[in-house]
Amino acid sequence: MADIILKTEGLTKHYGGVHALTNANFEIRKGEHVAIMGDNGAGKSTFVRQITAVEQRTSGKITFDGKEVAFEGPLDAREAGIETVFQTLALADHLDVSDNLFLGREKILFKLGPFSILDYKGMREATRAALQKTGVKIPNFRNTIQNMSGGQRQCVAIARTATFHSKLTIMDEPTAALGVQETAQVENIVRTLKEAGEPLILISHNMRQVMDLCDRIVVFRRGQIVANLKKEETDGQDVVAYITGAKTQPEYAEAAA
């Protein structure tokens, strides 16, 4: 089907003898917001790391935007259009906001191989525009990340993914460490993405948030997908039952056994 943006078939990852992820079959359509839930160590982050090629999968097939892909590293995945906010924020503490936004894909004033001259002005202007677009308020984006609060850092990380026209955005627990107001701001950014029709995979432990923001919930347990639930057809209790292992959807029963 043409409107499937990402599809994984039999995605598997072993760390030595540990089967962190087994035979994960997953798909997400254009414009769809899908939540991934599951207990700690259920394989959620591992799943994301295989898609974004931060790690190389043990086996399985990934189809992105209609083509089978084998990314060699996160830059490959990013160039193909997958933007990720990682659980560990992936920001450089001693650099400022616009440096971080453009880390690894700096705007260049004058091309000179590795010694290409940076276009600071262009990057700052683009940063200002990006922060406005996403509604992120940061008092001074010339400030270095180390002097910022957890919420501000998170907003920078999310603004980074929202700045670049991505085909798929992935957020790994974006509000885990945030206060009420900060969480609301992050959720607003997510809604902006939804309005713009940009697909999103959201990893979260927050049931209210998931029910608020997502169309579909995929539950991981012990490295396997055990449920694929439409939001309208489920509720919090039901999802918890899948997470804890009280329930397993029939089509996944064999895998979870």
């Binding site: 830059l75 560990t88 440096d99």
Partner: protein
């Protein structure tokens, strides 16, 4: 405009409370140290440390002493620039002193004259092969190539075998010193061509040091290379996830450090008109000390070449100051050690204070 936009939770940002740049702190330290020596000078010696007190010069400064201060740190300063960018990535380079030794020996052996006072060069290494009286570009190219090879090996070891930089460069430190001794079986190599001997004559080391300092300041501040150097030292995992080729970048950083060490080797051997296998012993530690005194954080990501240059000047002022006060060289070393430790303690303390969020 002291306060601007409201942030998350209505936070305000006060521009006047901005952190003071690290370089300024280091510069203030330099001024304080000079002031201490001035005070001690008037008290103990009855003369000024840096100012012209005997009316010997045209300006108000004691020009001779200023020249000595900068000249004696220039060569190690060149190494310190390279070491600075290595430390910025969170690494360390212990091999630069030995690379100076090896590169000086090898470069010098291609810079020799055929005849000294009408006799064949008594120290000639390549007389049989006829590799004497070569154009000056040959020893320069050979010397720089030594730096590329040694630095490249350092970088490859750090980047691809993932052994700690301390161990990788410690290995190179021992190996390169071995090469320096083996090259001429321990014999000094002397009698360079006239053009080679000009490379380090007079104040040229200072000119080269300052030119390289400006160049690397610009590179670290305004190029992709510089940005990635800071990013790797600041958060290596983040740099990798942002798509920076961390391994390749580290190889570049260590290679450039090796090249700068070999530049120092060429300048030093030219200045001394001879190369010996023991050249550059302990230079790596002096270079690291200059960087650390200049505010380069050993944890990476913090500091600048300007800091290192001021660190080098502090270094020079202290050595000169002790000589000026006619204190023994033994005391210099003791105090040098204390200053290095003190600088790191200060850095640690600052990090802890600044790291709270």
């Amino acid at each position: 405009m002291a306060e601007t936009t409201h942030g998350i939770g209505g936070l305000k940002y006060d521009h006047s409370k901005r952190e003071r740049p690290q370089e300024l702190n280091v510069f203030i330290a330099l001024i304080l140290i000079v002031a201490v020596f001035e005070g001690l000078g008037f008290w103990l010696m009855g003369q000024s440390f840096l100012f012209d007190s005997g009316d010997r010069f045209d300006s108000i400064f004691n020009e001779a002493r200023l020249q000595i201060i900068i000249l004696q740190v220039a060569i190690i300063g060149i190494i310190a620039i390279g070491v600075t960018q290595v430390i910025l990535t969170g690494g360390i380079d212990l091999s630069s002193g030995s690379i100076v030794g090896a590169a000086a020996m090898i470069a010098m052996s291609f810079a020799q004259v055929a005849e000294v006072n009408g006799f064949p060069n008594p120290k000639g290494i390549f007389i049989e092969q006829g590799w004497v009286d070569l154009p000056v570009i040959v020893p320069i190219a050979v010397g720089l190539a030594c730096g590329v090879v040694a630095g490249g090996i350092n970088g490859a070891l750090v980047a691809y075998t993932k052994i700690p930089p301390f161990i990788a460069t410690l290995g190179m430190m021992v190996t390169a010193r071995g090469v320096a001794k083996w090259w001429s079986k321990g014999q000094p190599i002397s009698f360079p061509t006239e053009s080679y001997s000009k490379l380090g004559a007079g104040m040229t080391p200072v000119v080269i040091f300052l030119a390289l300092a400006v160049l690397f300041h610009l590179i670290l501040r305004y190029t992709v290379y510089g940005k990635h150097t800071y990013a790797i030292g600041s958060n290596e995992a983040a740099a990798r996830m942002s798509g920076i080729n961390v391994a390749r970048h580290k190889v570049m950083v260590y290679t450039i450090a090796g090249v700068l060490a070999s530049v120092a080797a060429i300048v030093l051997s030219s200045k001394n008109l001879t190369a010996q296998s023991g050249m550059g012993v302990m230079y790596e530690l002096d270079a690291i000390a200059m960087a650390v005194i200049g505010g380069i954080s050993l944890q990476g990501g913090r500091g600048s070449v300007i800091g290192t240059v001021i660190g080098a000047l502090i270094f020079g002022v202290i050595i000169s100051g002790f000589t000026f006060l006619r204190l023994d060289a033994y005391y210099q070393e003791m105090v040098k050690g204390a200053i290095i430790v003190g600088a790191v303690v200060l850095d640690q303390w600052r990090q802890n204070k600044g790291g709270k969020t």
